[in-house]
């Protein structure tokens, strides 16, 4: 059986598979939210999803457009204030996985969502840090998902909004009371993990029909590949069906809301 799927679908399905029912996941909007809800609707029905708007253990039927859509509150176990969310639930150590998107990532998995260019004279101004800077250190580990390109995968981020392992890979060394940082990066081409020693991102699995050259051409530094480079399993028919119906439901809902 050979299924048709897009690279975006491949990315969402793969990102979803990184999650399990036992996790408490602090979910960023966009790709992470899509992956987390796909996980919940497939193999991880009991995963606990938390959004920074204060919604604890939420189960939206459609993907929220914003971090605080009504869906999230109405389907949550309870909704707390934003300071409580960041202070008691995130900083208090109750989040096992922080799931983040980003505009730029560098070889040490540092994230830039602030700007391209110089801080005082930006070429492109991006939204800013949001929840990410503290999710990255207060969650026990961090998953990152983004599309792979030379613009997004850069040797050094223009601005270090959210720490992966710092400019030299050592930013977490000897810092007490913080999480392990990024443990997996999922793109539309491959799965990367930090080298256990140097913390530099290394490609571990290529998605079906993706070549080493595709990844090399889409990465802004000399990307390394693991010695035993594998292939990511393709999406199953069930995963694709549930993802597509979630997205169709979402589009219909948001378009109709007037």
């Amino acid at each position: 059986m050979s299924l048709e799927f897009t690279s975006s679908e491949m990315m969402s399905v793969t990102a979803a598979r990184a999650l399990t029912s036992e996790m408490t996941c602090f979910v960023g909007i966009g790709l992470p939210s899509e992956a987390a809800n796909l996980a919940r609707l497939t193999h991880a029905p009991d995963i606990t999803l938390i959004y920074e708007s204060g919604t604890l253990q939420t189960r939206p039927d459609v993907l929220p457009l914003s971090i605080g859509d009504g869906e999230l509150c109405e389907s949550a176990l309870t909704t707390v204030s934003v300071p409580e969310m960041f202070r008691y639930w995130l900083q208090g150590g109750h989040v096992s996985v922080g799931f983040l998107g980003t505009a730029q990532i560098d070889r040490y998995a540092n994230l830039n969502t602030t700007l391209i260019g110089d801080y005082r004279a930006p070429k492109v101004r991006l939204p800013g840090g949001g929840g990410a800077p503290e999710i990255a250190t207060n969650a026990k580990e961090v998953f990152v998902t983004l599309k792979h390109s030379k613009r997004t995968f850069v040797k050094d981020v223009d601005f270090l909004t959210t720490v992966g392992f710092g400019r030299d890979g050592k930013a977490r060394d000897n810092v007490p009371n913080i999480g392990r940082g990024p443990t997996i990066v999922i793109t539309d081409l491959c799965i990367l993990k930090p080298d256990p020693e140097t913390k530099e991102l290394v490609v571990h699995l290529l998605h079906p029909n993706v070549t080493r050259e595709d990844v090399i051409n889409a990465t802004g530094w000399e990307i390394r590949f693991a010695d035993e480079l594998g292939t990511t399993p393709a999406p199953t028919a069930e995963e694709l069906e549930i993802l597509r119906s979630l997205k169709a439901r979402t589009d219909a809902h948001h378009a109709g809301q007037q």
């Binding site: 909007i29 966009g30 920074e52 708007s53 204060g54 919604t55 929220p64 457009l65 914003s66 971090i67 605080g68 859509d69 009504g70 999230l72 509150c73 109405e74 909704t79 707390v80 204030s81 934003v82 300071p83 969310m85 960041f86 202070r87 995130l90 900083q91 540092n110 602030t114 801080y119 930006p122 492109v124 101004r125 991006l126 939204p127 800013g128 840090g129 949001g130 929840g131 990410a132 800077p133 503290e134 250190t137 207060n138 601005f159 270090l160 909004t161 959210t162 720490v163 710092g166 930013a171 977490r172 007490p176 009371n177 913080i178 809902h253 948001h254 378009a255 109709g256 809301q257 007037q258």
Partner: protein, 271 residues
């Protein structure tokens, strides 16, 4: 005790040119009606504070109300950039604005500290981030018990807080329900506060632990039905997600924006 005023009167009386104004509502209950009244009254040189300066601040910045923005995430959620904000930052149109940016956690803690009457908040934050290099309101302190290095941020104490809530009773007590965000904190942290509400009722009909602001903690209340639209008010109306997407097109173009502003803000009076 809170005064009941028209929105026009409340904005005119309590927001002055040059004030530091925090209009809050974390994606829910965003005080759009109040923001539009600020635009209509042509308030100028405001320092605008808001964790998530989305469309309401994009509109106010595009209309020339702001000289400075303090924020932690400035985008059109799920859609993209705030083009009016970017135009101001990248091209100085209609005027250049200063920015001071935080993370959400730090800003939430800064409001919390403001509500608690403290000059600073302490958090485990900003580790390894470049943000402390560009924001002088972030410092680091050592815990006197454990020696751990922690971030300290100056608390937020605005001149005026503006929020939207579901309802007030006739004594001026205000109920906020659903995603309560940072609304209680900003009202308690500010010197003055304006609360717009969907309706004024005889009885709040609130649970024993509901998020209620007592009348004596609020300066002015103005009835503004649909005052959060295109954001939403849980129990009243849904978020107009289609408009959020549509805004992207309007805000990309200065003329389209100005036409929108004329037709939808200036030509409509406050309720």
């Amino acid at each position: 005790m809170a005064e009941f005023l028209s929105l026009r009167e409340a904005v005119s009386r309590y927001i002055n040119d040059g004030d530091t104004v925090a209009m809050e509502g974390f994606t829910h209950l965003i005080p759009f009606a109040a923001g539009h009244e600020v635009i209509r009254q042509k308030k100028r040189d405001l320092t605008l504070i808001r964790m998530t300066p989305d469309l309401v601040y994009d509109q106010m910045i595009g209309a020339g109300c702001a000289k400075k923005l303090i924020f932690s995430w400035g985008g059109n959620p799920g859609v993209g950039s705030l083009h009016r904000l970017r135009d101001a930052l990248e091209n100085g149109w209609p005027n250049s604005i200063e920015i001071l940016e935080h993370s959400h956690a730090a800003m939430a803690c800064a409001y919390d500290a403001g509500a608690a009457g403290l000059p600073l908040a302490v958090l485990r934050g900003y580790i390894g981030s470049d943000l402390p290099k560009v924001n002088d309101q972030i410092k680091f302190i050592d815990c006197p018990f454990t020696g751990e290095r922690l971030a300290a941020v100056r608390s937020v104490r605005p001149d005026v807080a503006v929020i939207h809530a579901q309802r007030a009773d006739r004594n001026g007590n205000v109920l906020i329900e659903g995603i309560v965000g940072i609304q209680k904190e900003v009202v308690l942290a500010a010197k003055r506060s304006i609360v717009t509400v969907e309706e004024i009722v005889d009885n709040l009909d609130a649970g024993v632990n509901a998020c209620v602001l007592p009348s004596w903690a609020v300066t002015a209340i103005a009835e503004a039905p649909k005052g959060a639209s295109p954001s939403y008010a849980l129990g009243y109306y849904d978020r107009d997600n289609a408009f959020y997407k549509e805004w992207d097109g309007i805000a990309r173009d200065r003329e389209a924006f100005q036409a929108w502003l004329e037709a939808n803000v200036f030509e409509k009076g406050a309720a």
